[in-house]
């Protein structure tokens, strides 16, 4: 380039600047457009991926919230349900003796063949039922006989009466009616026998078999002997207990640690070291916490395997750094003038923090805690290592009872051998988990918006 001579200043008129700017303008605008379109493309691509995921899950999972049920008039035939009187605790009877009698009575009820009630009722609507006893047994899912038993146990007065009940059909009937199996396949590849398919056709034309909202999905624990009645209640309660443990342990501990580190701790090498390690802890893969839980909580402290208490402890460890980091950044964001004003008016440091700083920080702390809990709720990997991927057929009554968790239940159903039925069921479980996560996140956002203060 030519160097301008020192004494003769280059003549820059408005016109030449204009020209230069005009010349570069197109190029600069193009660059901006390219960058903007890349950005937009990235946003659209990620949105499209999320959309595909959601469409996939919802199209598979939503139909599983309804499942086929058969409407039957069940006559609690006294000839079949032939049991002694339900025991009532006498005034002078000890609790233990009564429990013993009650269990004996329940065992007696357990020997009753409640399937008879179902097949008797089916015989009334299916004229040719008697010739195909084996097929007849398979129409209603096997777990419903326990539902009938429970009705009798609760109220023995029902014996001799007729009740109209909606009973869940076998999982394969649901699969057939929803078209989740190719109906044109030859008999040898079908799950339902030709006779059953004929019956199902007839019963659904009569309106006896209908798609009804699946309360089983929410009210029942997992099941393998009666696949149609497998539900999420056990896993939900397991997750709930774990979240309680996390809220009770990780949140107060994390908040206390953060307040100490942020407000009280001297700035020295030791606190720097602690800070670095908390950040490291936040980056530890969750499965490592599972290994730790298995060896420490189960191995050393002899806590029960597959119990929500252990899961909760492991998830607490995992959530702790999240809570500490969130709380510290909230405390940092509170202007020092608040503290100074309080101190200037004679408050002690403790009073300044607990009376003035902390109340202002609560929304931020809550947001951090909720996000931490939501993260813990969706975590499956550490739970697999502490025995929570076991099959548990009952709803846990306390954090010490064996249980699964929602994300693990998804994993378990994904592995169930009746793919035609459980592919939809798995997606339904995913929808439930997603709904919980989204509502927790929404709660966090709402809290932040409502109590947020700008300085």
């Amino acid at each position: 380039m030519k160097v301008a001579e020192p004494l003769i200043k280059p003549v820059i008129t408005a016109g030449t600047v204009q020209q230069k700017v005009n010349a570069s303008l197109a190029r600069r605008h193009r660059k901006e457009r390219v960058f903007k379109s890349f950005g937009l493309a990235a946003v659209l691509a990620s949105l499209a991926l999320v959309l595909i995921l959601f469409i996939n899950i919802f199209s598979k999972g939503l139909p599983a919230f309804w499942q086929s049920a058969i409407t039957l008039d069940i006559y609690f035939d006294p000839q079949v349900v032939n049991i002694s009187e339900k025991p009532v605790q006498a005034a002078n009877e000890s609790d233990n003796a009564f429990r013993q009698r009650d269990i004996e009575w329940q065992t007696e009820v357990g020997f009753i063949n409640f399937n008879r009630l179902i097949t008797d009722s089916l015989e009334k609507v299916l004229p040719d039922a008697r010739q195909h006893r084996r097929d007849l047994q398979r129409i209603v899912t096997s777990g419903e006989r326990f539902a009938l038993r429970d009705m009798v146990v609760q109220d023995p007065g029902i014996i001799g009466q007729t009740r109209t009940l909606h009973l869940l059909t076998d999982a394969n009937i649901d699969v057939w009616l929803k078209g989740n199996i190719d109906r044109s396949l030859p008999d040898a590849m079908q799950q339902l026998s030709p006779k059953m398919r004929e019956w199902v056709q007839q019963l659904s034309e009569q309106g006896l078999i209908q798609n009804r909202f699946s309360f089983a999905l929410f009210m029942n624990a997992d099941s393998r002997s009666s696949l149609a009645s497998a539900g999420l209640a056990g896993a939900f309660m397991g997750s709930l207990y774990m979240m309680l443990v996390v809220i009770v342990l990780a949140v107060p501990m994390g908040v206390a640690a953060a307040i100490y580190l942020e407000e009280f701790a001297p700035k020295n090498r030791f606190t720097d070291f602690v800070e670095v390690n908390i950040n490291n802890l936040a980056a530890v893969p969750s499965i490592v916490f599972g290994l730790l839980g298995a060896s420490v909580f189960i191995g050393w402290f002899n806590l029960p395997m597959s119990a929500p208490i252990v899961g909760g402890l492991v998830l607490s460890l995992m959530t702790l750094p999240t809570v500490i980091i969130a709380t510290r950044s909230t405390l940092k964001a509170i202007p020092p003038s608040i503290r100074q004003a309080a101190l200037g008016l004679g408050a002690s440091k403790m009073q300044a923090i607990f009376h003035h700083v902390l109340p202002l920080a609560i929304p931020g702390i809550l947001t951090g805690a909720i996000l931490g809990v939501a993260q813990a709720l969706g975590e499956a990997a550490p739970l697999l290592l502490i025995g929570m991927k076991s099959f548990v057929a009952s709803v846990p009554g306390s954090p010490f009872d064996q249980s699964t968790a929602l994300p693990v239940q998804i994993f378990l159903w994904q592995g169930n051998e009746l793919r035609n039925f459980f592919e939809a069921r798995t997606s339904a479980a995913i929808i439930v988990l997603l709904a919980l996560m989204i509502s927790l996140n929404a709660l966090a956002i709402w809290l932040r918006k409502k109590y947020e203060k700008r300085w």
Partner: protein, 343 residues
């Protein structure tokens, strides 16, 4: 201030929880089972039925982890933090009994629950397979005998192994070594197939054993560590794949996969009971004798599992795909449980 009350409440509940933690550590009233994923569905059904039929006991909890994984947990020792029952799709090995004894587990009660077939299956839109043990060996071996010499496995398509097999690429999905199914697969298919060659018979016993089980490493044999669903997913992704499944898994997914005959026999319940289908095996569970009488219901659960009501013909377990024991066997096994006959 409300904050103080809140803090107090939270702290109080934290303390209460930690106390209850300490208080709860002793004793367990739920039977804990783990092990083979082949036995898992049967064990789960039995557990559920047991829980529903015995009001006084809790429903046992059933975990997976493979036969070896389950037996390893089983042999970790005696006490409430160890499992009570290990499911296994193969008999316990002497080394595992040793490991158990070293950790104080001396009373191992073996319970046979029934039989299961192992099937080779492919996608319904893939070719029909009529397999012989020899074919499977040739498909998976690292080296194969040819004209008196051992050469690196040259086969890439099934039709190269035998004209009768479909013209599709070799891709075999077999269970990982944590599964008991793997051992049966090797013992009943690979080794017999391998031993049919004169060249192998000429080898010493150790050399032949090593030679037969050496697998090719060019990616045509995939070991599946997870459940059969994972094998099924592999088949769904790759049309040519042939997978190893349990008969009951195949029965539940007949619309997606079709079975191969082995030595000309179609795997069915009947052909397995009759002993015609070569790849079948007994299924077991092992009860920790030390826990009988400590964990409530353990003995009753073991007895219930092998009772005719739970696992005989027309029972829930048969419906789930288990091949029932013969009546004589059943009586013998029940007697062993009652007498706590240990290994």
């Amino acid at each position: 201030m409300t904050l103080n009350n809140l803090t107090k409440l939270v702290l109080a509940s934290a303390v209460a929880l930690s106390f209850s933690t300490v208080a709860q550590t002793s004793g367990r009233d739920t039977i804990q089972v783990a092990g083979s994923s082949t036995v898992l569905p049967f064990s789960s059904v039995a557990a559920e039925e047991f829980g529903n039929n015995f009001a006084q006991f809790k429903t046992p909890v059933v975990g997976s982890g493979g036969s070896s994984g389950g037996l390893r947990q089983f042999c970790q020792g005696v006490g409430t933090s160890t499992i009570d029952i290990a499911n296994s799709s193969r008999p316990i090995r002497p080394a595992e009994v040793e490991a158990c004894k070293a950790n104080g587990v001396n009373q191992i009660v073996e319970v046979k629950i029934g039989y299961d077939g192992i099937v080779f299956a492919s996608r319904i839109d893939a070719g029909d397979f009529k397999l012989e043990p020899k074919h499977v060996f040739l498909a998976q071996a690292a080296q194969v005998p040819q004209n008196g010499k051992m050469v690196a496995n040259p086969y890439t398509r099934w039709s190269q192994i035998d004209k009768s097999l479909p013209d599709q690429a070799i891709l075999l999905a077999i269970p990982g070594s944590n599964h008991g199914t793997r051992e049966v697969y090797e013992e009943k298919v690979v080794v017999p197939g391998c031993q049919s060659f004169a060249e192998v018979k000429a080898l010493s016993k150790d050399d032949a054993g090593k030679f037969c089980l050496a697998m090719r490493t060019d990616g045509r044999v995939v070991e599946i560590a997870g459940d059969y669903t994972e094998t099924l997913a592999r088949l769904q992704a790759q049309k040519d794949a042939v997978g190893v499944f349990g008969l009951s898994f195949y029965e539940a997914n007949r619309d997606r996969i079709k079975v191969a005959t082995v030595s000309g026999v179609v795997p069915t319940l009947d052909s397995i009971i009759a002993g015609e289908y070569p790849v079948s095996r007994p299924l077991f569970f092992y009860v920790k004798g030390e826990h009988i009488g400590v964990v409530p219901g353990l003995q009753q659960f073991a007895e219930y599992f092998v009772s005719d009501a739970a696992s005989g013909f027309g029972s829930p377990l048969e419906a789930a795909g288990l091949i029932p024991l013969a009546d004589g066997e059943r009586a013998e096994i029940l007697k062993n449980i009652r007498a706590k006959k240990t290994l």
